[in-house]
C-alpha cells in the first residue's frame, strides 16, 4: 500500500484531449513527513506514520512535541498511520504527490459531511409511506412498520431508524487520478470525494 494525506480543496472540471469534460475534485496532497516507522520486530506489525499540515508549536502537547522532534520535523496537525507501506522510508523523509501518477486508480478516505439528526428517507433511502392524498396525512416520510406483533413483541436489533447522519469515515473505491501537479502538490481525482472543503482525506492505492 501507498498513501498520502491531503486536504480537499473543492471541485472543478477538466477537458480531456478529445474534448470530453471530466468532473473532478482537487486535493492538496502532501508534502507529508514520515514521523515514525513501525516494524514487525519492534511493534508487532509494520506501518508508516505520516504527518501533514503544520501546527503552531504552542498548541502541541509536550509528548507530541517530543515525538515530532524525534523524527526531526515541525509539529503536524494530522498524523495518520498506514499499514504495510510499500515505499522504503525512514523517519524524517518527505512524501510528495508524485508517488501517484496520472491514470492510476486510488481509494480516497474521508469523513463525510455531517447532516445532523435525519429521518429514514434521507438516512437510509426509505420511500416513505404511501401517497399524499386519499385520506392520508402526516405519514409521508414515516418509516412504516418496524416489526411484527406479539411474536416477537420487540423490535429487531439493527432496525434502521432515524438518527445522526453523516460524519462517518467513508472510503470511495477506485477513483481515477486525472492529473498530478507535483510541484504544486496538487492531485485531481475524478468524481466527488467525501467531506467538506478543507477536510482531511487519505489517498491510498
Amino acid at each position: 500500500m501507498k498513501g498520502i494525506i491531503g486536504k480537499k480543496l473543492g471541485m472543478t472540471s477538466i477537458f480531456k484531449e478529445d474534448g470530453s469534460n471530466v468532473v473532478c475534485t482537487v486535493v492538496h496532497a502532501g508534502p507529508c513527513v514520515v514521523t515514525q516507522v513501525k516494524t514487525q520486530d519492534t511493534d508487532g506489525y509494520s506501518a508508516v506514520q505520516l504527518g501533514f499540515d503544520d501546527k503552531k508549536e504552542k498548541n502541541v502537547s509536550k509528548a507530541m512535541l517530543g515525538h515530532f522532534s524525534k523524527a526531526g520535523t515541525t509539529p503536524k496537525r494530522k498524523v495518520v498511520e498506514f499499514r504495510d507501506f510499500d515505499l522504503d522510508v525512514n523517519p524524517g523523509d518527505t512524501i510528495t504527490a508524485d508517488i501517484f501518477e496520472e491514470g492510476q486508480y486510488v481509494d480516497v478516505i474521508g469523513t463525510s459531511k455531517g447532516k445532523g439528526f435525519q429521518g429514514v428517507v434521507k438516512r437510509h433511502g426509505f420511500g416513505g409511506v404511501g401517497m399524499k392524498t386519499h385520506g392520508q396525512h402526516n405519514r409521508l416520510r414515516a418509516p412504516g412498520s418496524i416489526g411484527m406483533s406479539s411474536t416477537p413483541s420487540r423490535v429487531m436489533k439493527g432496525m434502521r431508524m432515524a438518527g445522526r447522519t453523516g460524519g462517518d469515515r467513508v472510503k470511495m473505491l477506485d477513483l481515477r487520478i486525472i492529473k498530478v501537479l507535483p510541484e504544486k502538490n496538487i492531485i485531481y481525482v475524478s468524481g466527488a470525494i467525501p467531506g467538506h472543503k478543507g477536510g482531511y482525506v487519505l489517498i491510498v492505492d
Binding site: 472540471s13 477537458f15 504544486k184
Partner: protein, 115 residues
Amino acid sequence: MDIIKELNQEIMESREIPAFRAGDNITVYYKITEGEKTRIQAFKGNVIQRKSTGFTSTVTVRKMSGSVGVERIFPLYSPNIDKIEVNRRGKVRRARLFYLRDLKGKSARIKERRI
C-alpha cells in the same frame, strides 16, 4: 477555492471570449470530430442563460429550426469551441429567458439594445 481558480487561470486567459449576456444573438463555432476529420459547425441563436462562473461556466443558446426550438448548452472554456461571435445585442429584463420557450413568432423577438 482560490487555488482552484489559480490553476484554471492559465487556460482561461489563453481563450478569448467576447462579452455577451442573456438576450444577445451569438454564433458559436463548434468543432465536431467525425472519425478522423474535424469540421466546424456554426450554431446561431439567442443566449437564454449564462450559468456558473469561471472555468466551469456554460452558455445556453436557443434558435428556431423551422418551427421547432433547438437549445444547446456549450461549456464556454471547452477546447471544442473555435470562436464565439456576437451578432446583435438584445434588450431584456431578465438574466434567464426561459419564457421564450412558450413564445412563438413575433412575440418571441428580442428588441435590440443600442449602446
